[in-house]
């Protein structure tokens, strides 16, 4: 990881142990209590009630109005590599096919090297004493740079509700907008400050969402994975557990039952600023070349 990627601890004596989530998708039952608890605790606006037809997922993705999102994947794959497995009979004449239903509660990854935080020009995005990444609502000016800078597509700009005063031809400085800022999971910074666990973890009835000190969660996850592997679960793998990955490991990592992209997660995310030192070098070279090029155009006189 480069020196340009954000520091994880700048709090000195005030630093707290790094807190995070371990989301064990193997015991998620898709109840969406986390989605609801998150919305209620964080006062997130309604964002449309819509049937997508995509299994039980009518939330579709993380965004400004969704900080926990339960993904549902219906698969013709066995849950376990051997032994008992659910099946579906597509046709009486053929062999029944294996069937499984994967559920995963997705959330902001609170990356060790966070793209959103690195690119934020105002300092609205910052790293808390718990090692989490949070937006300061009173600083964000809605530039939107963090939105395409997140390798996971977590953070987004809130457009709704629009004010009726939001006149199309209003002067930029006076055009009133009710929001226009970016929003994402804060890992319930306010609750953490008060010594409580985040709302989603608190509401999870199966402890699929586990909150705690990251080091401890990592150990717990390794043990859980070893157990699932011994039991022959199909495709069990940790995602975001490796601290040498492109974002330096996640603060909120997962135990999945298939490849990340099946759940709509990037298989090998890299923080954009990992490439920035080289990118700045190219930019400086291009700028210099422009000087030289324009100067060369003056050879040959005025005409």
């Amino acid at each position: 990881m480069t020196s340009l990627a954000g520091p994880t601890q700048t709090y000195g004596a005030e630093a707290k142990p790094r807190m995070g989530f371990f989301t064990d998708t193997t015991i998620c039952i898709g109840c969406k209590a986390c989605e609801v608890a998150c919305k209620e605790w964080n006062l997130i606006p309604e964002d449309g009630l819509l049937w997508t037809g995509e299994s039980y997922d009518n939330t579709s993705h993380l965004g400004a109005e969704t900080w926990r999102h339960v993904a549902f994947v219906e698969q013709r794959k066995p849950l376990r590599l051997e032994g008992e497995t659910a099946t579906v009979e597509t046709d009486a004449a053929v062999q029944p096919e294996p069937l499984r239903w994967l559920m995963e509660s997705d959330v902001c990854k609170h990356c060790t090297h966070a793209g959103c935080l690195d690119v934020c020009p105002t300092g609205a995005l910052f790293r808390t004493e718990f090692g989490t990444v949070v937006v300061q609502e009173d600083i964000c000016n809605g530039c939107g740079y963090c939105v395409p800078a997140c390798p996971f597509g977590v953070i987004d700009k809130r457009d709704l509700p629009r004010s009726p005063d939001d006149a199309p031809l209003a002067l930029p400085i006076f055009g009133k907008k009710e929001d226009g800022r970016v929003w994402k999971c804060t890992l319930c910074y306010d609750r953490l400050k008060g010594g409580h666990e985040p709302a989603c973890a608190k509401s999870c009835p199966t402890d699929s969402i586990q909150f705690g000190e990251l080091d401890e969660l990592r150990e717990r996850a390794e043990k859980r994975l070893a157990k699932l592997e011994a039991e022959g679960w199909n495709g069990a793998q940790l995602y975001g557990h490796d601290q040498n990955d492109g974002v330096g490991g996640f603060g909120a990592f997962f135990l999945l039952l298939d490849e990340p992209e099946v759940y709509g997660l990037p298989p090998d995310p890299v923080v954009p600023t990992a490439h920035l030192p080289k990118l700045w070098k190219q930019t400086a070279l291009a700028a210099t070349a422009m000087f030289v090029g324009v100067a060369a155009a003056f050879i040959g006189g005025r005409e």
Binding site: L49, W51, C143, P161, P172, Y263, D268, P272, T283
Partner: protein, 327 residues
Amino acid sequence: MTDRKPFQEKRAMQNGRPAGTTDWVGSITERGTHMQDYYGRNIVKEPTWSPEIPVYFFTGGLAGASAVLHGIARLSGNHTLARRSMAIGAVADVLNPMLLIKDLGRPERFLHMLRMFKVTSPMSVGSWILFAQSGSAITASLLEWLDVLKPLKVAGEVVSFVAGPPLATYTGALVANTAIPVWSEARDELPWLFASSAAASAGAAAAVFTPTEAAGPARRTAIAGVVAELGLTQVMERKLGFVGEVYKQGEAGKFNKITKACTIAGAGVLALGGRKSRAAAVAGGALVLAGEMALRWSVFKAGFQSARDPRYTVIPQKQRKEARRGN
């Protein structure tokens, strides 16, 4: 409440397909590995930037490169060209902050851009460059027009000259420093592409507004910029491979074609008739300017198209992962 269209529906419409439908649930990649996705949904988010941004990429480049053209013209004693380039740059520099502020979700907080200086954020670095460059260019231009405070005017010219090339190139770094595949994977080319495009714009604008007997360097700058840009586009598209196919599709593809047609025609007209005929210089310059504006739109739209389709995010990452596993 004027616009209460459900958020997801809006997002899905942006994604080019109505909510709840999938065009495909898997596809065969070039390498023959089966890729799965989540109901065809995008992984990285499309930028939230409005049309002011590609226009700013154009005007910012125009302002930055015009400052260079102006400075070198001044040093070489070509004061006619220097004054015209200075005025072009000043007009662009008046527009630049307005465009950027208009795009903000909270325009009244535009000064928050100058709360800190962050080298990890090209937008932060760029805000300071723009602050210095546009401030000095506008000041110098006003003082020249009023014909007062010559030392301050010269100081302004020097600052705008030095800050010009970074202003023209940082926007390339800005878009490349994202998770959008078609921008991120072109990080070695985009600053160069934006530099060429900016030089072509400044040269073309100066060729339009300067009498032909003083506009030689401007015409040559425009032509060289176009030639460099055409070469760089080829290099970039080849390097991007299948991720770069968005430059042949949809709106990005349309703008890409307009760019090529306008810049080639414009540079041709400038090269053949620009020296003798002012009319040819104006026509050629205008064509190049139109082409450069289209180039910024093509790059801008390509980013959206690239974010929209999860294949561009997943396949290069899977290939990277597989290659690592192989080692």
